[in-house]
Every structure is written in structure tokens, then in C-alpha cells.
């Protein structure tokens, strides 16, 4: 493929998309499924941005290289791997954790992280529409009159991330009976989300709907982005990987937001590969990881694998190995209570998923086939418990 685009959407739950069987439609994303491979069992390497993005952009795990806040020089960003081959690399986003200050600007010919721009005081990031405008401006200058260098474009939308303050028109699409104004929605963020208060089920459901309204907003932004690609006449020459760094919790395991739990609502993320030449859609139930994205991008460009990348190319599907998926993070909530950093890990293989939480030295095991909501811990009763423990144990406190 001439160009590859990576579109990451912060905080997007898999079940928020219509094509994944979520209750609410996402009309545009649902409409492109006939040109996509859709992975149903894609796992993020972590439950929040800092823990997830080393997988997505460097094909390495969060707790490797000594857990620095700033990206280790030893990690190779996909932009660095591509930049040396003559492919133009451009990144556009507005997530402070991925800003130049934290070292994510390596290898990009163009890198926009919004840190020099003014942002809204309450919703402190540049919205998807603005990101699209910047991408459109860059793209048209890059394409110029006709002949242009192949490019790798990464864009990341923040709009779903709390505070949930969607526009009226999107709230109406989800539930027109919600009559909150911006001030009231922001109050919910301060009083309920920030306090992790799930005592009132009705309020948590209300938050879920506001979140859903943001998802509709993002669906429109993705539609607009595809329109830009079409207008620039590059859609037909571009493969597009669409995924998310993590989901969001709405009371499924006693909390809201995303602090470091490892359940499916946070780590089982959407993953789509759009290929313009594809004749019909494909659904893959392979167990895969977002760690596999950088090798997949190399594959799409027809380039050789890079040693530093720990994942495997997702394409061609029949060549993908049967393997498990790991994820790791610092349990922010537990660490705060204990006064020191506590790790949390998971490992998924076949239908089993094991979670280790250092905060209270606890193990959990779930059978995702019979218990997809991960409510019934079978660590004491399952024959699978021991072998799964043995696979995860070497990864705990290994650096």
C-alpha cells in the first residue's frame, strides 16, 4: 500500500461501536465494514494512555525500560522506523501524555501536539474537528500538484475522554430526554467521575449516555476525515488502522473512568483495518494485541520487520501466530492509597484471562467464553489457574 494511516480514538470502548454489536449505531464507522478486517478480540497493552501507547506506537510494553515518565530513548517509535526509509511521517493529536515534552515527537517530519495552542479551560484539548482541519492543511500541502512521497499519518482524537460535555445535537441522538446544560454536565465530572462515586446507578447510566453522545460526535469526525482523504484523492491509496488506547468503565467493576483495572471494558478495544481494495468485510476472532500495530504498519508498507518491535504483523491473517496477550500498568488508585507504585498485570490466552494486582497481592481468573463480563473469579477452582499464573509471574516486577 502506498500510504498507511493510524487513527486512534482515546477512551473508545469496543461495545460503543454499532459494528461491534453495541446498542447504539455509529453510522459512518458501521458503513465502512465491507472494506475492513474487524478484530473482535484485540487487547490493549494497558488500561490508560501512558500504559497503552508504548504498545501502539513502539510495539513494547509500558513497564519495560525502567518505567520512566518520559519515553525511553531505547524504544523505537514507528515514526523512527519509517522515517529512515524515506516515508514522510506526520502526527497530529492533543493528548498531553503523548506530547513532545514526554518524548513522543521522535521521528516525525510533522508533529502537532497542541501544547502551544490555547485550549478550552474546561475541556483541555483540541477537538477532532480542529485536528481534521490541521490534517487537511498538511495533507493538501504535502500532496501538492500530484506526485508526492508516500506517507504515514497518525491522528488521535480526544473528544470521548471525560469530562463528558457533548454537544446538544449528539445528546439528542442518544436520549433527547436528557436536559442537562454544560455547567451541569461539568458538575457531574467534578462530583461523580473525579470522585469515582458510583453510589447512584441512575447517574452512572446518565454518564454512559453522555459518553455515547461523544461517540456519535467522533463517528461524524471520522466521516469528515474520510471525506478529506477522498477530496485529496488519497483514500484509494491508503490503508487505515483504526483503534483505541483503552475503554472506560461505567460501574461494571465498581468504578468509573480508567485508573488501572484490567477488565474487558478497558482493555478489549476496537481494532479495524480498512483496505480500499478489499472486496468484502472480514471478521477475525484471533486473539491479537495493539502491540501488533507497528509491525502491521511495516507490513502494509512492504517493509521488513524491525528487531525492536515485540509484536507480529496482523496481516496476512493466515500467517498470524496463535499467542497470548499481555498488558501491564501501575494501579493508580491503589498506588495512591498505598503511597507507592503498585503494578497490575493481565494475560489472556484462549478463553482464559488472568489478572494480578500487586496492591492487595491478588489473582483473578476468568473464563471469557462463559463469563464475558468477568464477574466470576475461578482462580481457586480452575485447572487452568496454575499454568496461567506461571506465564504471568515472570512479568511482575521484572525491571
Amino acid at each position: 500500500m502506498k500510504n498507511v494511516i493510524l487513527l486512534t480514538i482515546d477512551t473508545l470502548r469496543k461495545d460503543a461501536l454499532g459494528c461491534y454489536g453495541g446498542g447504539n449505531p455509529t453510522p459512518f464507522i458501521d458503513s465502512i465494514q465491507d472494506k475492513c478486517v474487524r478484530f473482535t478480540r484485540a487487547y490493549s497493552c494497558g488500561p490508560y494512555t501512558q500504559a497503552a501507547f508504548p504498545g501502539i506506537l513502539t510495539s513494547s510494553y509500558y513497564l519495560e525500560y525502567g518505567r520512566q515518565k518520559v519515553l525511553s530513548e531505547k524504544r523505537v517509535l514507528i515514526s523512527q522506523a519509517l522515517n529512515t526509509t524515506g516515508i514522510t511521517t506526520a502526527g497530529f493529536h492533543s493528548n498531553p501524555y503523548l506530547s513532545a515534552y514526554f518524548g513522543w515527537n521522535r521521528g516525525w517530519d510533522v508533529f502537532y501536539d497542541s501544547m502551544e495552542d490555547e485550549v478550552d479551560d474546561k475541556v483541555p484539548y483540541i477537538k477532532a474537528g480542529e485536528i481534521n482541519k490541521k490534517v487537511a492543511a498538511w495533507l493538501s500541502s504535502h500532496i501538492g500538484a500530484g506526485e508526492y512521497r508516500a506517507f504515514f499519518l497518525w491522528l488521535h482524537y480526544m473528544d470521548i475522554h471525560e469530562p463528558y460535555v457533548p454537544e446538544r445535537k449528539y445528546i439528542d441522538m442518544v436520549d433527547p430526554s436528557i436536559r442537562l446544560d454544560e455547567e451541569e454536565m461539568f458538575r457531574l465530572f467534578k462530583d461523580v467521575v473525579l470522585k469515582r462515586d458510583v453510589s447512584d446507578k441512575g447517574t452512572v447510566e446518565l454518564l454512559r449516555k453522555l459518553y455515547g453522545a461523544h461517540v456519535r460526535e467522533i463517528d461524524d469526525a471520522v466521516r469528515e476525515f474520510f471525506g478529506i482523504l477522498e477530496q485529496c484523492n488519497v483514500l484509494k491509496d491508503s490503508a487505515i488502522v483504526i483503534t483505541s488506547d483503552h475503554g472506560d468503565e461505567f460501574g461494571e467493576h465498581g468504578g468509573v473512568s480508567h485508573d488501572g483495572k484490567m477488565y474487558s471494558e478497558l482493555v478489549n478495544v476496537p481494532l479495524l483495518i480498512y483496505e480500499p481494495s478489499r472486496e468484502k468485510g472480514k471478521v477475525s476472532d484471533l486473539l491479537v494485541s495493539t502491540l501488533d500495530i507497528p509491525p502491521t504498519i511495516l507490513y502494509l508498507f512492504g517493509l521488513n520487520p524491525v528487531d525492536a518491535f515485540e509484536g507480529c504483523s496482523l496481516l496476512p491473517l493466515q500467517g498470524y501466530p496463535i499467542k497470548g496477550s499481555f498488558g501491564e500498568a501501575v494501579d493508580k488508585h491503589g498506588s495512591h492509597e498505598k503511597g507507592e507504585e503498585k503494578e497490575v498485570h493481565y494475560y489472556c490466552e484462549g478463553d482464559l484471562k488472568i489478572i494480578y494486582c500487586e496492591t492487595d497481592d491478588s489473582w483473578e481468573l476468568y473464563d471469557l467464553n462463559s463469563d464475558p463480563q468477568e464477574l466470576n473469579n475461578i482462580i481457586q477452582t480452575s485447572h487452568g489457574a496454575e499454568p496461567m499464573k506461571q506465564k504471568l509471574t515472570p512479568r511482575v516486577r521484572r525491571y
Binding site: P96, Y101, D113, D117, V119, D121, P124, Y125, H161, S257
Partner: protein, 281 residues
């Protein structure tokens, strides 16, 4: 005071061209707005200094005074900058106004790091803190803290624009200063919002790189602050600006392959502030 750098005739002509482009922007601004509707922001640094020098050239050619100029007093200034600004505001006849948030300075007893209690501030400052959703009862007096930065810089700037009914404000931003600037325009209209007056930002030197800038300083013998000779490349508040290479003048450093603003504490503060608003930290 002159910069000890040899500039070839060819390079001089190139710099003159860049200056001409900037003069055109300034002339366009004077076509679009009346002189009394225009203002200049000056910091004593190299970007706003070059901008002011170019505006002055256009004013000399038109036979009009330099528009109202402001400098922000954030309570953490380099003496070298103060001396430089004092000297050239006189020499160039700059109608300079020192703008400060005296209410905050008093609440902090003019002491860096002192704790400012929100309830001790006047109504406008309290309203401004509300506007940025700052809900704590106190904050440390530092220009780079979230509340400090807003009250000491943004508010002071907005009030100055409002006070003089300015329609256009000259700024010394450059495209190459930061990758995020690549899309900025020479004229950008800012819409009015709560406590923010409508105005147009005018950026005559957007197209200068850092190297172009120092070559132009040398070619035209434009005065600069002595701190750049000590090795500073980017100047902000005194306690948060860092020397890039001790004793090596800015124009002798490797401008093209190293970061102009590496290690500025502002970048960290800004990231932290946004993360806090997203519910982290």
C-alpha cells in the same frame, strides 16, 4: 553591542528580503487598522525585538509614531532585560506601558513562591479564576503555575487590549519556533468571548527561522539583550529560563539541529495542567 558574526553580501540580501516580507505584513496592518487601533507586545526577547524593529522601520517611512507598546511585568524579571528595554524604549521613542496585575502582586507581597489566597483577590481576578475552572482556595505566586500564568499574563494582556480598544496586536511568533506553529497565519482574528475582547493577532516575522533571525540582527546591526551572549536561546521568566550552552552566544550554537526551547519548565507545567483538568494527577 553588535553581533560578532560575518554575514556575506548574498546572505545580507536574503535577510533584507525576509525583512521586506515582514514590512509588507506591517503595512497591510496599517492599511487595515488605524494607528491608534494597533498595539505591540514586547518582551525584551529576540522575537518581539525584531518585530518591534521592523514596525519602527515602517513607522519611520510613514512618518508616524510607533503604536502603543506593552510589556508584561510578571514579578520575575531579568535585570538585563529591564535595562535593555529601558534603554531602547527611550532611543526608539516607544510609547511603552508596563502592564502588571498589581492586585495579585500585592496579595503575594511581591514575593516569588508566596501563597496567594483567592479570597484576597479582587472581583475581576476571582472571575478570571472561575473562567479557567480553577477551584482551589490558594495558589503559589509563580508566573508558570496555572493560576499565576493566567492572572499575570493572559488577564493583563486582555485588559490592555480592552483598555485601549485595540483591534490589532503585533506578536513576534515564528513558524520554526515550535512544530505546533506550522499552521499559524500572519493575521488571525480572535473572536470575543467571556472576558476576552475581540482582536486580530498580527505576526509579521512568522517566516523567520532562528538562524535567519540572528543573521538579520547581524546584517542590520539590530540591538539585542546581552543574555543571548551568555548562552540563552529562549528567554522567559528569570527563574524558569535556562542557559542552553554556557558562554556560547545564541547565534554561535547549532541552531538547526538542536531545540530552541529544550528544557523549558513551561512545557512541563502546561502538560501537567492539562492532565489535571482531564482528571489525572
Amino acid at each position: 553591542m553588535a553581533i560578532d558574526k560575518e554575514i556575506s553580501e548574498k546572505r545580507k540580501r536574503q535577510c533584507a528580503k525576509l525583512v521586506d516580507m515582514s514590512k509588507d505584513i506591517v503595512r497591510k496592518a496599517f492599511d487595515r487598522f488605524k494607528p491608534e487601533e494597533l498595539g505591540v507586545t514586547w518582551t525584551g526577547g529576540k522575537d518581539s525585538g525584531l518585530t518591534l524593529w521592523i514596525i519602527r522601520e515602517v513607522c519611520l517611512e510613514k512618518g508616524i509614531p510607533i503604536p502603543k507598546t506593552m510589556i508584561i511585568g510578571e514579578g520575575d524579571e531579568f535585570e538585563e532585560i529591564e535595562e535593555f528595554v529601558e534603554r531602547y524604549s527611550k532611543e526608539w521613542v516607544v510609547p511603552l506601558e508596563l502592564c502588571r496585575n498589581d492586585d495579585v502582586l500585592e496579595a503575594a507581597s511581591h514575593t516569588l513562591g508566596a501563597t496567594v489566597k483567592v479570597k484576597d483577590l479582587n472581583e475581576r481576578n476571582q472571575a478570571e479564576l472561575k473562567r479557567i475552572a480553577f477551584s482551589e482556595e490558594e495558589f503559589p505566586f509563580e508566573a508558570e503555575s496555572e493560576a499565576g500564568n493566567h492572572l499575570m499574563k493572559t488577564v493583563v494582556f486582555n485588559q490592555w487590549v480592552e483598555r485601549h480598544n485595540l483591534k490589532g496586536v503585533f506578536q513576534g511568533l515564528r513558524w520554526d519556533e515550535h512544530p505546533a506553529r506550522f499552521n499559524d497565519e500572519y493575521f488571525e482574528k480572535k473572536e470575543a468571548a467571556h472576558l476576552i475582547p475581540e482582536h486580530t493577532r498580527i505576526r509579521p516575522i512568522l517566516h523567520f527561522t532562528e538562524k535567519d533571525e540572528w543573521d538579520t540582527y547581524a546584517a542590520f546591526n539590530i540591538p539585542h539583550c546581552t543574555l543571548y551572549e551568555q548562552g540563552y536561546r529562549s528567554l522567559g521568566a528569570k527563574t524558569t529560563s535556562l542557559i542552553s550552552i554556557e558562554g556560547v552566544p545564541a547565534w554561535k550554537q547549532d541552531l538547526e539541529n538542536t531545540e530552541e526551547r529544550a528544557g523549558r519548565r513551561q512545557d512541563k507545567e502546561k502538560a501537567m495542567e492539562r492532565l489535571r483538568k482531564l482528571g489525572y494527577m
